[in-house]
Symmetry: C2
Subunit: 457 residues, 2 copies
């Protein structure tokens, strides 16, 4: 058919209608939950100034930013004697593509501070780009779905996010487990083990416990210059068993002299108290998991992660409390708590657990067969009336062979086909064929509309 | 507050919640109309290979593509003795950002040919990027909303797009005029004026009639090497007056020997016949405007444009029939017809004509006042119940001063505030305050839910 080499850049995807329908179903569930909880939408540009993005995601992150070549005479400022790639890149490019939604949100809050009412509850569903090595389940362009409440340090917000998790995953009919921890407790544990100065190294290492196991975490802790004495104190606490209440009781005993640790314990107690006062829809295990650390270093309080009970795919949602997200842009002391639904992984889980679910209501419910110009004109008014009644419907545009027209309806999953031949037209009726049962009835338009509306509900 | 210079790249925009709500309203109207007409969604990547994009939009278009710096060692292939900017750019960059949705759609159809059922009715709502000089109403990042029916040459598809225009603009309550023409008629007119070889120059020039006037069009035609003799023949036809029927009758007389011209006339007659057989909701003037040309050179049949009757802003929607869109990627003879809603201009018109309209239903309808921990726990179950009933609701997270909490509800446009003090809690009741009327009633939860649901309808 074609001898032209057509393809898309590696790590990017086209979405076919069938994929779009399942994706749109998940997006709609999350968007509707965000709105039911009082979050309002914002959007930020795909491109940010590189000065906004650089240095916010670590060295690795800087490397993974997609940079956009300056337009116009982009060569005029280049120093060709320069041999450092990064320096030349920054001469060639002023803008980069969004790497996540968090830094743009922080920039947005600072830039529009006077136009916003705090506490500000925003949600944002947009694509982000990372020049990562593409591999199964990892793309260079993907969506993020974030919600944050910023400008309030009330722990009620943490409860709201727990309710939101319950709302979304019960609507998606997925069994999940909610793991929680608190950065202040981790700080307290580090204090108790005499390695407070190494908190960030400790969190990075223990964050991998699930993936690499206890032995390798110990190895990594050693590599990161944590003394054996400290490791021996850390590990029994980080791997503490029992119910949440038992863990809290043991922590209280073990961290008696750590103010920050105790603050973290109190926070979790208050959050759990709210959680117990209102039922969840899901039978969602809520586990205080003291080895949960989450890599990002802006978290300062409660942190959490959601994992599927049925599919081994890692965290499908995560988030936490931060005290100074906007500090990088000069606005201090804005406490907030945020959640990010890992939408691409959630799609993967849905594909495995509920492969059939999609937004069926958004597809055509009826197709008029096309017998030729005369019959068509008879159908057009019925088609219009049907759409006015809110029914998605279409007419096959060409008077092709019946078989071809039915094949079209079938491949599009259209449940009803409507036929009007000479006899039906004479009596102002139509033949309605149910594509699944094969049943066919001669009806008037009103009856047809009612029958299709019934299937819609 | 901040001494850090924060900004976004020129020509890009942040959208605040209030803007998002009006934008989302318009998007929802268009998306719902697309689906009611049987169009199915697709998405393509933001980035395409530059080999897919280059040469498809003319020289000017190539210049306006945003190019993405290759990741990794981007300097390794550069020939620094090269002085041609474009050549260096193509060594530095393999990928570019989407310039429109049409070329990616053509690429998609060819690449996924075997996975699609034809006629293929797709819609696509995504952002595009152009490195244009930013000015009022012109952005470097903006949305396009396109629908196409490809793989069918039936003129019923043109009628469908006319119905779609009627559906969308009647839902948006905008008065519009629909201008139509046919590229085959233009070809016939060029033939009659002995300048068939200059059809593309003629369309570019007469397309500007509205903007620059008749005299300047003549001047441009001359500059584009059209002979005076030809211009004298062209102009009386291009500016033909009268009803559509009168214009068609005059055309038939004036283009007796042009097969292609006559074919165009017949096409328009058939399209108008379909249009007359079914009422439009809008009192939409449908004008056969023989000076309508539309710049893009892939159109081959009917072309159309929608203009607002109330706001002078140029075309707010346009489209037409093409016979060989996918030819550039090696797939011949795929006839199709497409429409593009100029969503950013439609927003501007809506802002002027219906400044109040937005998707109110997506915002919070009720806020619980926060009196402190004890009262809060009483409210949380009510809040959850309300959300389960599909009501968007929230609780103020901090037990701040009443005034502050009411100001928050007010600035967010929340119509109801719910208060539970000691007395209400004792009797399992709540005080419901209507923020607009100031009225306040003591009610039970069920009564409150009913009252809020009533305002929702």
């Amino acid at each position: 058919m074609s001898n032209i080499n057509i393809s898309i850049p590696k790590g990017t995807r086209d979405f076919l209608p069938s994929q779009m329908m399942s994706r749109n179903y998940v997006f709609a569930v999350i968007r509707s939950a965000f709105e039911r909880f009082g979050f309002v939408p914002i959007e930020t540009p795909s491109m940010e100034n590189l000065s906004t993005l650089m240095g916010k995601y670590g060295e690795e992150g800087d490397r993974l930013l997609f940079k956009i070549l300056n337009s116009g005479n982009f060569l005029q400022n280049i120093d060709f004697t320069e041999t450092n790639q990064n320096k030349i890149a920054s001469q060639l490019c002023e803008k980069g593509l969004r790497y996540d939604l968090t830094v743009p949100f922080a920039r947005f809050v600072v830039q529009h501070y006077n136009e916003l009412t705090f506490p500000f509850k925003r949600y944002q569903i947009q694509t982000v780009w990372r020049a990562d090595r593409p591999q199964k389940g990892r793309y260079r362009e993907f969506y993020q779905c974030d919600a944050d409440i910023i400008g309030s340090d009330s722990l009620l917000n943490e409860w709201e996010l727990m309710q939101l998790i319950d709302d979304v995953f019960s609507a998606l009919k997925l069994n999940v487990c909610l793991k929680m921890n608190n950065r202040k407790i981790l700080a307290g544990i580090a204090q108790m083990a005499n390695c407070s100065d190494k908190l960030s190294e400790i969190t990075v290492a223990i964050d991998k416990l699930d993936k690499i196991g206890l032995e390798n975490v110990c190895k990594e802790l050693k590599e990161r210059q944590i003394e054996q004495q400290s490791i021996d104190k850390l590990l029994p606490i980080l791997t503490l068993g029992g119910t949440n209440e038992e863990k809290i009781a043991k922590l209280k005993k073990n961290l008696p002299n750590s103010d920050i640790g105790y603050k973290g314990i109190e926070e979790m107690e208050e959050i759990f108290k709210y959680a117990q006062s209102v039922d969840f829809k899901l039978n969602m295990d809520i586990q205080l998991d003291l080895s949960l650390a989450r890599g990002l270093n802006y978290y300062t309080g409660a942190i959490f992660e959601v994992v599927s009970k049925d599919v081994q795919i890692g965290s499908i949602t995560g988030g936490g409390r931060y005290d100074n997200l906007t500090g990088i842009f000069g606005l201090q002391n804005m406490s907030g708590v945020g959640i990010s639904f890992g939408i691409e992984r959630i799609f993967d889980v849905m594909q495995q657990i509920h492969p059939q679910i999609n937004s069926v209501e958004n597809q055509s419910l009826a197709m008029f067969v096309n017998f030729g110009k005369k019959e068509t004109v008879y159908c057009l008014n019925a088609l219009k009336k049907m759409r006015e009644e809110g029914i998605n419907a279409e007419i096959y545009p060409d008077s092709a062979k019946m078989q071809k027209q039915f094949k079209y309806a079938d491949s599009k999953g259209i449940p009803f086909v409507i036929i009007a031949g000479e006899n039906e037209i004479k009596e102002s009726l139509f033949a309605l064929k149910n594509m699944q049962s094969g049943e066919q009835n001669i009806l008037n338009l009103e009856e047809i509309i009612n029958q299709i509306k019934n299937i819609k509900q």
